[in-house]
């Protein structure tokens, strides 16, 4: 118990003194996950709205695949990306292994199915609500998708925050493709794993506190968005 209290005290000191090592790791984590999220949103929202507003043969099969990919094990994604980016792999010539770019790629693969599947559901529900109105106005596909994306924006932001939460907390993939290199590819989760195994509990705990604070902030933001959308009856 004493050890835990001592570690917690040291951790708080690190956080409150804006320790440069700590900040570097936090900023890299945020950078990797945010860029991965932007990529996931561009792909997820586009494909999600296309899937929501088009009925075609094999659509059900595609939905099953996407929904299953929501639970992709990060270590498996890490392994596949590693094989792709390693020297003997098809993308080895890009020299991306053990770089933040490889970590962004791995996290994008993990987040995209989540953003895609959830945004497809959100947009499809709204499309069902508006369908007859759109048809009566003889709207083009482009006009329909534009309207749906705008009217579902609060729900879509919530979806993207869910994706961000998954990315920032992920450890398996980034440790495989990033290599946890100090001052280069070390992020919060990989650092927590390393520092814990080395017995440097205060540093691991400090990162854990920040990770929890980020998680809490994301959840608070989701709740605030839900309240806002309800207030404006967008939900």
């Amino acid at each position: 118990m004493f050890e835990f209290a001592e570690a917690f005290k040291l951790a708080l000191n690190l956080v409150l003194s804006f320790d440069s090592n700590l900040l570097e790791i936090v900023f890299l984590s945020l950078k990797v996950s945010l860029i991965a999220l932007v990529i996931a949103c561009i792909i997820g929202f586009s494909l999600g709205s296309l899937l929501a507003s088009n009925k075609f043969f094999g659509r059900g099969f595609i939905l099953i695949i996407i929904n299953s990919f929501m639970a992709l094990p990060p270590v498996v994604v890490g392994l596949v990306v590693y094989m792709l980016l390693s020297k003997s792999g098809p993308l080895g010539w890009m020299n991306l292994l053990y770089t933040p770019s490889a970590m962004i790629l791995a996290q994008s693969i993990i987040i995209t199915p989540i953003v895609l599947a959830l945004s497809r559901q959100v947009i499809e529900d709204l499309e069902n609500e508006y369908a007859d109105f759109f048809k009566s106005l003889n709207m083009s596909k482009f006009q329909i998708i534009k309207t749906l994306l705008w009217d579902a924006r609060y729900s879509l932001i919530t979806v993207s925050l869910a994706g961000f939460g998954r990315g920032i907390a992920e450890v398996g993939a980034v440790i495989i493709v990033g290599g946890n290199i100090n001052h280069f590819t070390r992020v919060m989760t990989t650092s927590i794993a390393l520092e814990t195994s080395m017995g440097n509990l205060p540093f691991a705990l400090a990162l854990g506190i920040i990770l929890l604070l980020i998680s809490l902030s994301v959840n608070a933001l989701v709740m605030a968005l839900n309240l806002t959308s309800k207030r404006y009856a967008f939900a």
């Binding site: 709204l126 609500e129 508006y130 007859d132 109105f133 048809k135 009566s136 106005l137 003889n138 709207m139 006009q143 309207t147 009217d151 207030r231 404006y232 009856a233 967008f234 939900a235």
Partner: protein, 251 residues
């Protein structure tokens, strides 16, 4: 009391109504869902630029017929001809459909009107406040449309459709479950639309309302056409027993 106000708004809208899409001819129109026939070989010609009321008991296929005319649904067999031609996107743009359960966007009241501006590329800033004032929604223009009462939503849906400058308005039980004041506003808009040459086709269960508004009545039962006659004859000398029973409240 709303009539002069409505007329002024219609004049400001500068409606260019044409009726060259008439007659609307239904040829052996059949619509089925999973082998079940909802409408069966319906033959009908709607000619005049007047108010056509579609009546019939629940499940007769009235709303489906309205959606088929609007082009939301495709017939299983048969056809709908507009002055001899199949429906075109140009013809679709001349119509406005008012649903029994209003479909409003998850936006503010005024944004629901703005949406039509964006769609048509025309500015209606000069008339939007007047339209909202007409239906008693000016004070709520910044409120979410979804939080309005059912009657208010229906009023908003109707004035929103006027921005489409339609030549044909289709209404699916637009005053069902609404209070008399709202019903009165909606009926006044319908009457004024007719005066400006807009063709009206609407579905109602309300016999008194049909008597007040209808120029001709189409009565369907079990997906089949039972009667199509002018309103006076329909209400005073119904030809079929089904219609007699319906008008006497037995059906």
């Amino acid at each position: 009391m709303h009539l002069p106000k409505i007329k002024k708004i219609f004049e400001s809208l500068q409606l260019k109504v044409d009726d060259n899409f008439l007659p609307i001819v239904l040829k052996n129109l059949t619509f089925s869902i999973d082998e079940k026939k909802i409408l069966s070989r319906l033959n009908l010609s709607i000619k005049s630029s007047l108010i056509t009321v579609i009546m019939g008991p629940n499940g007769a296929g009235k709303s489906i017929l309205l959606k088929l005319i609007n082009g939301i649904l495709e017939p299983s067999s048969g056809a709908i001809l507009w002055n001899g031609n199949k429906i075109t996107s140009d013809l679709k743009r001349k119509q406005a459909l008012i649903f029994q359960k209003p479909i409003l966007l998850r936006r503010s009241v005024i944004s629901n009107l703005d949406f039509i501006e964006g769609l048509t590329g025309k500015s209606y800033n000069f008339i939007k406040d007047d339209l909202l004032s007409l239906v008693g929604l000016l004070d709520q223009k910044k409120q979410p449309a979804k939080l309005l009462s059912l009657g208010e939503q229906q009023r908003l849906s109707l004035v929103r459709s006027l921005l489409l400058k339609p030549s044909l308005i289709l209404l699916d039980e637009p005053t069902a479950n609404l209070d008399p004041a709202t019903t009165n506003i909606i009926e006044n808009i319908i009457v004024t639309s007719k005066q400006f040459g807009i063709k009206i086709i609407f579905v109602t269960h309300n016999i008194l309302q049909a008597k007040r508004l209808a120029d001709e009545v189409v009565f369907i039962d079990n997906g089949e056409l039972v009667e199509h006659s002018n309103a006076d004859n329909f209400f005073s000398k119904p030809k079929s027993k089904i219609v007699k029973n319906y008008l006497e409240g037995k059906l």
